[in-house]
Amino acid sequence: MTEKSQELLIGIDLGTSQSAIATSTGERHVVDSYVGWPVDAVARKILKKDVVFGQDAVDNRTMLDLHRPLERGLLKEGSEKDQQAIRELLAHLMDLAGVAAERKKGAKVRAVVGVPAEALRVNKQHVREAMRGFVDGLIIVSEPFAVAYGLDALLHAIVVDVGAGTTDFCVMRGRYPTEEDQRTLTNAGDWVDEQLAKLIKERHPGISVSIHTVRGWKEKSSFMGKAPGPVVVSVPIAGKPSEIDITEEMRQACDALGPPVAETMLDLIAAAESEYQEQVRNNVILAGGSSAIPGFGAFLADSLREFGGGKIRKVQDPVFVGADGGLALAKDAPKSDWDKLSD
């Protein structure tokens, strides 16, 4: 067989907290969605880099002009630095996955990028603009739709994708999801962090901790419902290292995420055709990094009980499920559609 011109397909989950990429060559990478530039020559000399990404950037944030270019799952508007940051982040992801190298060799790169379900048209256009030059063809889809497609949950299913910036919902009803099939809430992982920081501050007015530290505590010790054990953290108070118990604050902050998510899920299920609602209830897919909060799935299952019960299925790989879904869409999209959507 004569070798055909190369084509590299990629799926990208551009997330507020983490961005993941999966390629048709089997590459899979994830990076924390942070981009930092050394603040001065000294910082550059210490870090030995012009741009720092991910956790490395968070760890060295005091020496960096640190940016988290995706806010609530969307590109921030108005800041040139944030726009530059998103392009750096994309370039970094592409480099990690070897995309740039393949493109240099002549491969056509075609990408499907997931964005929040209710992202505005202007946000999608920003993503399109940011991706310009990195790929030869681009399709933007709602993230929960990508998740559903990747898991073959194409009919009578609902995806609840609890990310850092947003919680996205999508009911699959045998058609490409319309606005009425999808919702986005800003009650998500970052929102829990803010609640937790606020509650701690209320109880301990003397302490000063960054949101990054609070996020770390949540990622380590979050729970909903009954506490599995005390949550004790070390924090400087008036310069003196002290241990404080934040079990109650953690419970309150995490518990607060449950009701709006459950309410929206039930609302969307109720909007499905009555004869299929039971199937949808039994096909709830829980995705996203913040869905890993212990007790979250049980809370949603409880909320379904009074409507006849249902089944919550947690995805196996919440980090890559969106990127994998994007890749599945990229693979299945007809060539003719790619032709229409190519630069």
């Binding site: 067989m1 004569t2 055909k4 011109s5 048209r121 999608k124 256009q125 399109r128 681009l138 399709i139 933007i140 889809v141 739709f145 497609y149 073959d152 194409l154 009919l155 045998g174 058609r175 490409y176 999801p177 319309t178 606005e179 869409l329 299945d332 999209a333 007809p334 060539k335 003719s336 559609d337 032709d339 229409k340 959507l341």
Partner: protein, 352 residues
């Protein structure tokens, strides 16, 4: 096609449409609304009387109205699947159908509305055969990365979409870039009890200046070039020499040879009418007969269309354009539609 595949296709279609609308800065649902409006206009425009000619004329009226209404809309994504106003006079060669006399009837007031379902009544199930595939890439233009198997697949999918929108069931002989033997392709069509078989190919001619398209139905030929062409296409068909002889003998036993010839004429006519405005140098190379195994072994009206010449640089450039490939698919669709209407009208006449 399985329900899951159909659903996936619907989802992917919606996904592409939404993205196109974003690029064009159009409100969500614009493409679907436009498509619905166009279909409505065509339905309104289709009138008919009692006989073959008036039905064809009615289709042409619909075509003419539609073409006028959509003039200027040359976007890649147009859903127009009818002829351009240039359809009528075929230049020459073996195409003998001159429909100009029918266009004169368009001004007549005596035409009555027909049920659009007349098309599926005649032709409900079509097998579309994208030539080559998999390790057999067919003809190729290496330096441009163009392969016959890719081009035929692209055009076939476009044709499939057009046909399915009319409610016609379409069966593809391959599901992507895979090798399927000629014998298997014929079996797919025969097992499906298809009403029509359309095989799509792209030509490669020794004289690189030669260009244009040609359509084939099954038959014998004394033309040494066609003998060679058929031998090339039949290589690796899965049929033994004895099988092929038996099958060739068989094609004279039924009326389908005539029907295939008619279908080849309609498709050739439509290709010329549609492509001329996009490719003024296009040449209708004729409606021909050749013993292609895939045509011989199928049990229904079957044609093979060499839709363009990849060996000709200008046509290769055109083939590289999605819009041109869409035009080819639209032409194939129109030819099929015309044939189906003719058959329907003939059957109607037989009944009365």
């Amino acid at each position: 096609m399985s329900a899951e595949l159909r659903l996936k296709r619907e989802l992917l279609k919606g996904m592409a449409e939404e993205n196109i609308e974003i690029i064009r800065n159009q409100p969500r649902g614009t493409i679907r609304r436009e498509r619905a409006a166009k279909l409505q206009r065509i339905r309104r425009a289709v009138f008919a009387g009692g006989g073959t000619l008036s039905i064809i004329a009615a289709v042409l009226l619909g075509i003419a109205i539609w073409s006028t209404a959509s003039s200027g809309d040359t976007s890649d994504f147009t859903d127009s699947y009818f002829l351009t106003p240039d359809m009528t006079p075929p230049v020459a060669g073996e195409v003998s159908r001159d429909l100009s006399h029918l266009t004169e009837m368009l001004t007549g007031n005596e035409m009555r509305a027909i049920d659009p379902s007349v098309i599926p009544l005649a032709v409900q199930r079509i097998v579309v055969d994208p030539g080559h595939g998999g390790i057999d890439s067919g003809t190729k233009l290496d330096q441009w990365g163009m392969y016959e198997s890719d081009l035929t697949w692209d055009i076939a999918v476009r044709l499939q979409m057009l046909l399915e929108r009319t409610g016609t069931q379409v069966i593809m002989t391959r599901n992507g870039d895979e090798k399927v033997s000629v014998q298997a392709r014929a079996e797919i069509a025969n097992n499906a009890r298809a009403d029509l078989f359309i095989s799509i190919h792209v030509n490669w001619l020794p004289n690189r200046e030669s260009r244009g398209f040609e359509t084939y139905s099954a038959g014998t030929t004394v033309d040494p070039f066609l003998k060679d062409l058929a031998a090339t296409e039949n290589r690796g068909s899965g049929f033994s020499l004895a099988d092929t002889r038996r099958l060739i003998d068989g094609i004279y036993m039924g009326a389908r040879q005539q029907e295939s010839q008619r279908l080849a004429e309609w498709v050739g006519q439509a290709l010329y009418g549609t492509l001329l405005s996009k490719n003024p140098d296009v040449i209708h190379r004729g409606v021909r007969k050749a013993p292609f195994a895939v045509l011989v072994a199928t049990e229904m009206p079957a044609i093979l269309a060499e839709v363009a010449c990849l060996s000709n640089e200008r046509e290769a450039r055109l083939l590289a354009q999605p819009k041109y490939r869409q035009s080819i698919a639209e032409a194939l669709f129109t030819g099929i539609q015309g044939y189906a209407l003719e058959v329907s009208a003939a059957e109607e006449g037989d009944e009365t």
